[in-house]
Subunit: 199 residues, 2 copies
C-alpha cells in the first residue's frame, strides 16, 4: 500500500491494532490522539508501558500479576489465610476484587481444561494448587470458575481431586441482579428455584 | 477502591483507558493481553511507543505528521507540484492516501472554523496556506474538507480568500459506492442529480 505515514508510525499502528477490541481504524485514531496529546498522554503512557513491561510478572505463589515475586494479595498480612478462591484468569481475580467482599487468598489457574486444545491439569496451575494445599493450612477452597461448560468441567475435576482434603464450595447459581425471568435460560431459573431461600 | 492490581499496572490501565474508543474494561483486557504476550507484543509495542514519541512531529510545511521537519509527502520528489489538497485533519490525509489516486501535495488545516469555539483562520493553518500559495507555484487547490456544516463553512471561507489567485475545486457530491437511494438524504440525491453525467 502506498502510504504517507512514516514507517515508524505505521509500525506503531499495526502493533496497537493487535490489542483486543482494536482494529486498524481505531489504532489509527489512537495514534493520532497520542501524537496530538503528546505531553499529557503520549509521554506518560510511553513511560508507563516501559515501566510495566520491565516490572510485570506472575506471582510465583498464586499466578496473579504483580511487580514482585509475590503479588500484593499473597503478601498482604491483613488477608485471611486458609481460604483460597480459584479463578480461571487474572481478569476474573480482578472482577472478584471489585466486589470488595472477599478477603482471602487466590489461585489463578491460567485457563480451563480442554482435551481438544491439549490442556490438561499440568498445563494449568493445578499441581501448584495441590502443593499449596499441602503447605498452607487451607480450610476452604472456593471455586469461582466461569459458569461455562469448560469452567464447570474444570471445577468438577478440581473438586474431585481435593474434596477429601478440604472443604470445597462454589459460587451460587441464581438470578443475577436486575435479571428478568423472561430473558433467563431454563438452567438458571431451575438452579435458582432449587437453591431458593427464605426472604 | 480496594484493588489487587499493583499501582503501576493500575496507572497503565488508566492511561490506556484514555485512548479514543477504549474504556476501563477494554483497557484492562488490553493490559492483560500485553502482559500475556510479553515478548511478542508488549516488548515491540513499548519500544515503538518510545520511538514514535521521540520522533513524531508535525511537518513544518503541510501539517502532516512525520518523523522529520518535512514529512515524506512534502519531500517526495515524485509527487506533482502545483496541486494542493486541503484536508481538515491528518486522519483525512491518510484516508485520501488510501485511495492511491491523488499524487499531489497536501495542506492539513488542523480543524475547522468555529465561532463558538473561538477558532478563526489564525487558529487553523490558513495563514500558512496563503504563504505556500505565494511561494510555491500552485495551479490548483482541491478542497477535501468533510461534507459537514463546519467543513463546508471552512471550505467556503478558504475558497473566497484564494479563488482570485488559483483554481479551486472540491470533491464531487453524489451517491457513495453501494449507496441505496432509499437510505440517502435529499441533499445528496439532489446534488447527485444536478451533477449527473453520461454513463
Amino acid at each position: 500500500m502506498k502510504t504517507s505515514r512514516t514507517k515508524e508510525i505505521e509500525i506503531l499502528i499495526d502493533l496497537i491494532a493487535k490489542l483486543p477490541g482494536l482494529g486498524p481504524r481505531s489504532a489509527r485514531r489512537a495514534v493520532l490522539h497520542l501524537i496530538r496529546k503528546k505531553s499529557t498522554l503520549f509521554k506518560p503512557l510511553s513511560k508507563q508501558m516501559a515501566k510495566v513491561f520491565e516490572q510485570a510478572r506472575e506471582c510465583l505463589n498464586c499466578g496473579n500479576i504483580g511487580t514482585s515475586e509475590m503479588c500484593e494479595i499473597c503478601e498482604d498480612q491483613k488477608r485471611i489465610n486458609g481460604q483460597i478462591c480459584i479463578v480461571e484468569d487474572v481478569s476474573d481475580l480482578w472482577a472478584m476484587e471489585r466486589t470488595s467482599v472477599y478477603n482471602g487468598r487466590y489461585h489463578v489457574l491460567g485457563g480451563t481444561l480442554s482435551a481438544l486444545d491439549g490442556i490438561g491439569p499440568n498445563e494449568l496451575k493445578i499441581p501448584k494448587l495441590m502443593k499449596r494445599l499441602d503447605s498452607e493450612e487451607v480450610h476452604e477452597v472456593i471455586l469461582a470458575l466461569n459458569a461455562t461448560l469448560e469452567g464447570q468441567t474444570t471445577a468438577h475435576y478440581i473438586a474431585e481431586q481435593i474434596e477429601n482434603k478440604v472443604s470445597v464450595t462454589s459460587l451460587a447459581r441464581g438470578v443475577p441482579m436486575g435479571g428478568e425471568l423472561d430473558y433467563l435460560d431454563e438452567g438458571t431459573i431451575s438452579a435458582a428455584l432449587n437453591a431458593r431461600g427464605k426472604i
